[in-house]
């Protein structure tokens, strides 16, 4: 999975906690670096912060979906705006978590997003047959 957040302390601490729980985690500190990783080694699930310098999380999300529409994306945000949250959900993000996050909750969401991705892939294959 790929974790994208510009806050170094948060990103590194969260990556560490997810690694301890058995995940293989790649990290990026901005949208641009995340897109490079998605192109070269597509992750199953991306956890993406909304407020980042340069490309915003929502902009990065749109670009990720262009590269690989099946990747599931969980958005993180420190902003409570309901408008933003619903807009992001309508764009097709898998879920939306508000900071400060509970690491277990993030873990469940990643598992759920992964399951959803695999089901979508299977259903797509089934439809192609």
């Amino acid at each position: 999975m790929l974790l994208v957040d510009d806050e170094d302390v948060f990103r590194e601490a969260t990556a560490r906690q997810l690694t301890v729980r058995g995940f293989i985690v790649q990290t990026a500190d901005c949208g641009k670096a995340a897109l490079e990783l998605v192109k070269n080694d597509p992750p199953e699930v991306v956890v993406l912060d909304q407020e980042m310098p340069g490309l915003l999380g929502s902009e990065t999300f749109i670009e990720i979906k262009k590269i690989n529409p099946l990747v599931e994306v969980i958005m993180l945000t420190g902003n409570t705006s309901v408008d933003n949250a619903i807009e992001l959900m309508q764009l097709g993000t898998f879920d939306y978590l508000m900071k400060p996050i509970n690491i277990d909750e993030l873990l469940y969401k990643i598992e759920d997003a992964y399951t959803r991705k695999k089901l979508n892939e299977k259903q797509r294959q089934d439809a192609d047959l």
Partner: protein, 871 residues
């Protein structure tokens, strides 16, 4: 891609169920399996979202009781969380039943718009002026210049009293400043990140926000407007440089029921070269630790508070202080109270030092009724160049009265005029310069309280041996008890225990964040005119100030009783005195934050779709988010249940439970609820892998039912009458009530709809290693007895459920209970309780008019349950 998910995936997609025998599967069956798997996954996500919504709604309902403090971040975060999860449920429902309930989305958008409108509501200013000269300010400009300066405008322009020249940087300028470079957005984000720990992270959040404000550029438009206003002042002063007092005048500050006393910064004697630095300091003080704590404690919305800044020519005062036009502690006392000290009035309002008190009669002669001249060892004075300093008073000066009798009477005359103009008691800050000119610096409404002194019925001599302090100034009346906690430095604030008695050397405004947590306050210095005293009165916390040697008279950890009205502190908890304790003010109720929560809740919490059997149970009738979630939950269960039938898919059709004999219980396996695929008609208990169903059944079957309780004649008549009126109550007749008992299960999930005798219950449980997502829901309804006794049983069940940690609510004749977030073992025990109650509360409604039998059954059921969960 990653280890854990790979293992998880293998388990999920291979299925852990061994088929009974080799089965040839067609492509169509495989597609159905896949479709069902996908729908079941959406169903699980939907249930988790539903659980989060119910939990968030429970938080909101609790907050609406007004007993706890919460901020606007709480309201925002809960609304966002609920909206996101309702949206999530709609999306999942779309996957479960594509295209069938599309009207839900329209309802969601309509409700969401209403909530957005309420959350985004902010007072819109039609005015565009960034700076307004004080000559043009009047009291109807509160929105634009803040309460403090609006009030001062009238003192200057309507009452024609002397107020220093100056101008106000307006609320419009505040908005311009805060919106430049996304500053406000960044502040909102920092608050959000602090989350529910806002209180604990206060220091960090406050410092981060203030740093952001201090490093922001003052927008050019504000800069130019200020330079223009200052230049005019300078021209009027024949070109002389003017030093300024830069004072906060926030919107909402100094209102009648909220003082914000001393919560914001004011800078004195500022030269124009440093002006914008201090302007930003005042702006940043909106986010000082004490200001954030105060806002939170009083339920103010951050977005409602615009920091306007008043800029007045500095008065080089030889004496200054505060007038209370009435006694703040006694509404019957009509005298005027003048607190005064040498130098600037800062020493009085900050509560650092002792000051003189002159009490003046309101009669024509303005008779001075009382003079309390105290030793004023220190004074604040202006530096020659810039700033001010606390310095020792000259030898002999400290013990001299800081005002002459003429000055006292002139001040009293000002006070009466101002009070008459505002038609309410006032708290007035004033200064006198070397020429004897009186300047009014501030006037705001004064809160008055009644002292609560014990009458002759209480002999205080009984407690004299326990008295450790006598004397001091009653700064805020009341009685309270708690353990002593001395605070000498800022870091002590973090350690301050809830409900302790705060003891400090000086009654500084910076201790204000502790007021909401303290039972009472004692200070060696300070009087009843200081900011901290104001805040204490506002929060209803007893405060005794000016207690010489307080820091040594009591020790940390001492349990004491503070009786501020008596000017006494006693060791121990003096219960007879505590009977004079004031009721705690519910400051949240009616506050802007509270009202915001109340308004948005109206679109979230009420439930209108109560009866799934009703014709009105339709998406278009959803008026609130709760209606939407209720509708979706009901329909999602039905859709999952009917999948097998709708698609002629036998693998997903229900099986009959075979427990010793075939039973009237039907079970639908949603995924991995059986140990293996069952092809026949029956499923045995040992074939069931569902953790919650097994736990429920363990409780259900653990203790045999004694049979129906002995009914009295009244009970029998009641059941016969009700059966005549409602044929559905007669067992055997075909009706909607005569449905079977159904379980739907997966390994970690179970829902049950059951009818036993004349009552109906539903149970839903998610129990897995994911404790954060675990929940239990239980509803119990009906009975054959009359309404009163059905209610009796419902309350009987509620009492038992609450005893074992459920949150239970009784509505009409049903009880609705829920719990969430506990670990698996705890949940399993609670499921056993539900299983037990489902069986053993059968027909108990019949005995509800007999209190002896009620007590007997309460004792029996509780004993059984205790033995059940200790196994």
């Amino acid at each position: 891609m990653f280890k854990k998910l790979a293992a998880f995936s293998k388990r999920f997609f291979s299925g852990n169920q061994e088929p009974d025998g080799p089965v040839l599967e067609s492509a169509a069956v495989e597609t159905l399996r896949l479709t069902f798997k996908s729908r079941f996954h959406s169903f699980k996500l939907l249930l988790a979202a539903n659980s989060r919504i119910l939990e968030a709604m429970a938080d909101m309902e609790k907050a609406l009781q007004g007993k706890e403090l919460f901020s606007m971040s709480f309201v925002q975060a809960h609304c966002t969380s609920i909206s996101v999860n309702v949206f999530r449920m709609i999306a999942d429902m779309e996957n479960i039943a594509p295209g069938k309930y599309s009207a839900l989305k329209e309802r969601f958008i309509a409700i969401q718009r209403r909530i957005d409108g309420l959350l985004g509501a902010k007072k819109q200013l039609t005015e565009r002026r960034l700076v307004i000269p004080l000559e043009a300010v009047t009291s109807d400009m509160t929105d634009l210049v803040g309460g403090k300066m609006a009030s001062l405008g009238d003192v200057k322009n309507k009452l024609q009293m002397h107020v220093p020249a100056g101008f106000v940087i307006t609320a419009v300028a505040h908005d311009v400043f805060m919106s430049a470079d996304g500053l406000q957005r960044e502040i909102d984000r920092l608050f959000q990140v602090a989350g529910s720990d806002e209180d604990r992270n206060l220091d960090l959040v406050s410092s981060q926000i203030r740093q952001r404000i201090m490093s922001a550029e003052v927008p050019e438009s504000i800069y130019l407007a200020v330079v223009e206003a200052y230049t005019r002042m300078k021209e009027a002063a024949n070109g002389q440089e003017i030093r300024m007092a830069v004072r906060s005048s926030a919107y909402g500050e100094d209102a009648e029921n909220s003082s914000f006393a001393g919560q914001y910064r004011s800078e004195l004697n500022v030269g124009f070269s440093q002006f914008f630095y201090y302007y930003k300091q005042v702006m940043a003080s909106k986010y000082s630790v004490q200001a954030i704590a105060y806002k939170m404690n009083r339920g103010f919305r951050d977005e409602d508070i615009a920091m306007c800044v008043g800029c007045l020519a500095m008065v080089d005062a030889i004496a200054g202080g505060v007038i209370y036009t009435r006694n703040p502690l006694d509404t019957r006392d009509e005298a005027i109270y003048i607190n005064s000290t040498w130098g600037l009035p800062k020493a009085v309002v900050d509560g650092n030092d002792l000051c003189d008190l002159f009490v003046v009669s309101r009669d024509d002669a303005l008779t001075i009724l009382r003079r309390e001249v105290r030793e004023k060892g220190y004074q604040f004075i202006c530096y020659e160049d810039e700033g001010c300093i606390r310095t020792e008073t000259a030898t002999g000066q400290g013990s001299q009265p800081s005002l002459t009798d003429e000055q006292v009477q002139a001040l009293a005359d000002h006070a009466i005029q101002i009070e008459q103009y505002y038609e309410t008691a006032q708290d007035i800050e004033w200064a006198i310069d070397a020429e004897g000119q009186i300047s009014i610096l501030q006037s705001r409404p004064l809160q008055q309280m009644e002292m609560v002194l014990p009458g002759p019925e209480l002999d205080l001599r009984r407690f004299e041996t326990a008295m450790v302090v006598e004397g001091g100034i009653n700064a805020s009346p009341g009685v309270a008890s708690g353990t002593i906690f001395k605070v000498t430095k800022k870091v002590d604030i973090l350690q301050f225990p809830e409900g302790a008695v705060l003891v400090v050397e000086q009654a500084l405004p910076s201790w204000a964040p502790l007021v909401a947590r303290a039972a009472a306050m004692i200070s060696e210095q300070g009087g009843f005119a200081g900011h901290l005293a104001n805040v204490a009165r506002e929060f209803g916390i007893p405060a005794l100030f000016g207690v010489t040697g307080a820091m040594t008279k009591v020790q940390n950890g001492d349990l004491v009783t503070v009786a501020a009205d008596l000017g006494r502190v006693y060791l121990g908890c003096i219960a007879p005195l505590l009977e004079y304790k004031r009721p705690e003010p519910k400051l949240m109720i009616g506050s802007p934050v509270y009202e915001s929560l109340k308004e948005v809740s109206r679109h979230i919490i009420p439930l209108h779709l109560l009866d799934p059997e009703s014709r009105d149970f339709l998406p278009q009738n959803c008026q609130t988010f709760h209606d939407i979630t209720r509708f979706i939950h009901e329909k999602a269960v039905l859709e999952m249940f009917s999948f097998g039938k709708d698609h002629s898919f036998s693998e997903r059709s229900s099986k009959q439970l075979h427990y010793k004999v075939p039973m009237n219980w039907w079970i639908l396996n949603l995924d991995d609820g059986f140990t293996h695929e069952i092809n026949g008609k029956y499923v045995k208990l040992e074939d069931i892998a569902s953790i919650p169903m097994r736990a429920f059944w363990d409780g259900f079957a653990a203790i045999p039912w004694d049979g129906p309780p002995a009914m009295d004649g009244k009970g029998m008549t009641s059941i016969m009458f009700r059966s005549t009126m409602n044929p559905a109550l007669v067992p055997g007749l075909k009706s909607k009530y005569a449905d079977r008992n159904y379980f739907m299960v997966s390994k970690n999930y179970c829902t049950l709809s059951s009818r036993l005798g004349y009552h109906f219950s539903t149970m839903e449980a998610m129990v897995s290693e994911r404790s954060g997502e675990n929940y239990l829901g239980f509803k119990f309804k009906g009975g054959a007895a009359d309404f009163e006794r059905c209610m009796g049983r419902v309350n009987f069940i509620r009492e038992i459920l609450e005893r074992y940690g459920f949150r239970a609510v009784v509505n009409a004749d049903n009880v609705d209970a829920r719990m969430e977030g506990y670990d698996m073992d705890f949940m399993i025990d609670r499921l056993k309780i539900l299983g037990y109650l489902t069986l053993h509360t059968r027909q108990l409604d019949m005995i509800m008019s007999n209190s002896a039998l009620v007590n007997y059954y309460m004792a029996k059921l509780t004993k059984d349950i205790d033995s059940l969960i200790s196994q």
